[in-house]
């Protein structure tokens, strides 16, 4: 009841108390942190810093890798931010949509018979652009469909209801990933339709539906620049960064400068007021999900090609990373999410190198918790980002 009443009553809006920064709780947390840093963590930090100092080349390499990763993390994070901005819903299924994007990319690549050994560079280039479009259309429609059937009926429900529904959709999508990755299903389809192309998909998927799938290495591997023993930067890295940044820029200008973008911003500000101004809130929300889905799918394809694999559970980790990125930058804020993505990519790469990959998830989560505790609005979030 509380949640459903609050937005409608004019009185309730300012009821969220403003806390002074140094509450008792925060003071405790800070003291705890200092004790932790002083007695336990300083040797570790020192070790890490010295290790960085010892090999600046390695550090530079990791920074380059981190920023590249950061660009696609930012693209996924935007999906969270857009939806959160407009519905205040953590779209849990978004990470899994990203995974579906990777699977769809593999399916289309197999259907078109692209092969790094036999296909010409031009063919690959134009096919990939076409496939990117196809993947984006598919995931966009899926995302909008999910919104229509799993979230929209819960628009006026208590706010945890759509979140639970989103968690459920995340699991459903993971299972869709298992189905898509099952060579036997494709085999039957190929036999039934007598199609070689589908047979190629079946071959690409193999017989183990839950096993990681190999995506052919279609991106150019040449070096953009290369300093012996230290730094390398391939066209692949460059391409990933350029495409991701392009998507970010495109989205930013869409939301900033088009009429639909304005509608999205208006609906995010105040759905009821936007409706009074003649904005169709449902349609605006659908458009937001379409865009979010397209971004998720595109990121899935980019990451799939970049890393060369697709796995049905890859959306979970990626989703958490990008959600953290969105929160770090200020959820609901497009530029903030982009910034958060880059930072998280950087942190991830450094933590992989200097702390160990097994700790990376823990590091990311620790960051998430710390942000939520000390600055829930994120780096670029406005005051009152934690809207009531």
């Amino acid at each position: 009841m509380a949640a459903s009443q609050t937005p409608s009553s004019p009185q309730a809006a300012p009821l969220v108390p403003r806390e002074p920064f140094l509450t008792k709780r925060r003071a405790f947390s800070i003291v705890g942190l200092i004790i932790f840093l002083g007695f336990f963590a300083i040797p570790i930090y020192q070790t890490i810093l010295l290790e960085m100092w010892d090999s600046p080349r390695q550090l530079t390499q990791q920074i380059v890798i981190g920023l590249t990763k950061g660009t696609y993390i930012a693209v996924i994070a935007l999906g969270y931010t857009l939806v959160y901005g407009i519905l205040e819903l953590i779209n849990f299924a978004h990470g899994d949509l990203f995974m579906i994007g990777a699977f769809l990319a593999l399916i289309f690549i197999s259907l078109f018979g692209l092969d790094p050994k036999t296909s010409s560079g031009i063919t690959i280039f134009f096919s990939l652009i076409g496939i990117l479009g196809l993947v984006m259309v598919c995931t966009a429609l899926m995302n909008a469909g999910i919104e229509r059937f799993a979230y929209r009926p819960l628009r006026n429900a208590p706010r945890l209801a759509p979140l639970i529904s989103a968690i459920g959709m995340s699991f459903v999508l993971q299972n869709v990933g298992i189905f898509l990755g099952d060579g036997l299903i494709w085999d039957k389809l190929a036999a039934g339709l007598g199609s070689d192309a589908i047979g190629r998909v079946a071959d690409a998927m193999g017989t183990q539906s839950v096993a990681p799938k190999n995506i052919p290495d279609l991106l150019p591997n040449g070096q953009v620049f290369f300093i012996p023993d230290s730094l390398k930067y391939t066209y692949k890295d460059l391409l990933v960064a350029v495409v991701s940044l392009g998507l970010l820029a495109g989205l930013y200008s869409f939301v900033r400068f088009t009429k639909l973008g304005k509608a999205i911003r208006a609906t995010a500000q105040d759905r009821d007021a936007a409706r009074l101004m003649g904005i169709n809130a449902d349609r605006t929300i659908s458009v937001t999900f379409l865009i979010g889905g397209a971004l998720g799918g595109a990121a899935g394809m980019i990451v799939g090609l970049y890393n060369g694999t697709a796995l049905f559970s890859m959306g979970f980790t990626a989703g958490l990373l990008s959600f953290t990125a969105a929160v770090l930058g200020g959820i609901g804020n497009i530029l903030g999410s982009a910034l958060g993505g880059l930072l998280i990519g950087l942190i991830l790469a450094l933590s992989d190198q200097y702390i160990g990959t097994r700790w990376s998830n823990a590091v990311i989560f620790a960051i998430l918790v710390l942000i939520l505790l000390f600055r829930p609005t994120g780096l670029l979030g406005q005051e009152g980002g934690q809207k009531a």
Binding site: A3, L154, A161, G168, S170, L184, V210, R358, L368, P376
Partner: protein, 583 residues
Amino acid sequence: MPNTKRYLITGGVGFAVGTFFLWNYPNLGLGSALLGGLVIAALCLLYSAPLADMIKAGLIAGMFGAVMTIVYGTHKPGVAIIAGMVSGLGAGLLAFQRSPQANPKKAAILGAEAGAIAGAWTGLSLFVMAFVIAPAAGIDAGDFAEHLSETVILADVLGLGSDILILLFAFAFSTLSGAILGAASCAARSLPLRPNIPLLAVIALPVLLIPLIDRAGNLLLLDALIPIYIFILLALGLNIVVGYAGLLDLGYAAFFAIGAYTTAMLSSPHLGINLSFWLVIWVAAAVAAIAGLTLGAPTLPLRGDYLAIVTLGFGEIVPILFRSLGGGPPGGTLTLRFFGMPIGIEQVDLTGGNKGINPISPPHLPLIGDFDPSNKIPWYYLLILIMGLAIFFINRLRDSRQGRAWMAMREDELAADAMGINVVRTKLLAFSMGAMFSGFGGAFYGAFIGAIFPSSFDFSVSIILLCMVILGGLGNMTGVIVGGLLIQGADKMFIPKGAELFRRIAETKARAEGSSTVGVSALQDLTQQRLLLFGIVLVVMMLVRPEGLLPNERRKAELHPDDDTINSNSVAAEAEADPSLAA
């Protein structure tokens, strides 16, 4: 369809009950049938539906019986008969329970009617199995009669040979058991007892008798039941957090892990500390509760969905910690530098890393000695005791000042604050209480399995528990138990069994077509559809029945003052009316 939910509830429980004794050999036809009947009797006492409902409920139970038969009968044909009997017994009881005619004769007739309906269903399912499913799965239908005569003594005596006779037998037995139980429960009702005593007895008796039946029939039922009960215990703890206090906790498995690892570290040769289980279980619960406090203190003031994500984070970090705090090479050192000076830290293998901790010492009792992993009976009773105590104490908590504060906070945090309830403290209490019960669960789990691995505590555990709580009904312990039986029954019993059946069918078909590949696609392999099941449960429950299958009695009355008034608008109304989900 005004009464659909009631049928679904009844049938659903019939389904779950069915899984118990269909799990294995049907050597104890009558005993296990009675068991099922008793459970259904408990159910109909709980949900006092009018007569017509009862008959229809029996019908639904029978339908579920039919599904069970189809899924299970392949391997153990005699089971089908029992399914029929149980449906009959249940239906008989249901038909009788609330009928105004408190007359054993009439009750017997009603029971017989309902039993007959259920029996017909069972007969139909037997038929389908014998002539459709069994051939498809490459099983000789001729086995049926043979198996049956081994299973049910009467069948042998009467010399029942043909399939048709077996069907008739199932039908007759179902009718008969319906009549008997109808009459018996009518007689029981006239006894001068407090109304909840027979109810308790009816629930407790089968639960307590299961190990004896299990041993007599060599059913190996307990192997499956104990893990299910452990999960139900955990779900009861989670229900405090999610159901009573309205805090969405997506990392509940972390506390389970903490309880289990505490037990493992303190009660195993791994670290050389080998304390008694009876001490360690308390330590584990306390450590889990303290962990709940420590994790909750900074995060609980966060708003609902942020809290969900942060708890999810803890749920991820805790297994990572346990994975990483050990498992390195013995005697290895980690070199750190402190202001340039190297310090070597000897690595202590605290948690065994990925390999986990193995073995963990079992509990020891004077008369029984060490609990034996192969003899599950003491384990079972110990767990029942822990669960009983948990239910008892959670009940007390709910009906107290603290419980009311949880519910008030769930309803309207701001108003609760204004009524003098310290919201953060109240949340912390809920969090630590929830954690404490999962600590007990974790301690028992560690000792029972005898070994723990970090992979047993991942995100899917938290989600399964959440599914159990949401499916059964937030804030209602009966609901959580039923939801737990359903989800866990599906996860640990039906899905594996069904998957086996489907695989056999697929293989038979492949052989018939002369195809050499015998692979089973993900669409046919039910074990690969667990995630789908949980996902669908969450989404559909939110959309259709946010209050759960067995909502809180009061809330049920609230949401459905009159069953006939349900209309299409009520979905939104229900969603709105469900306070436990309010942030």
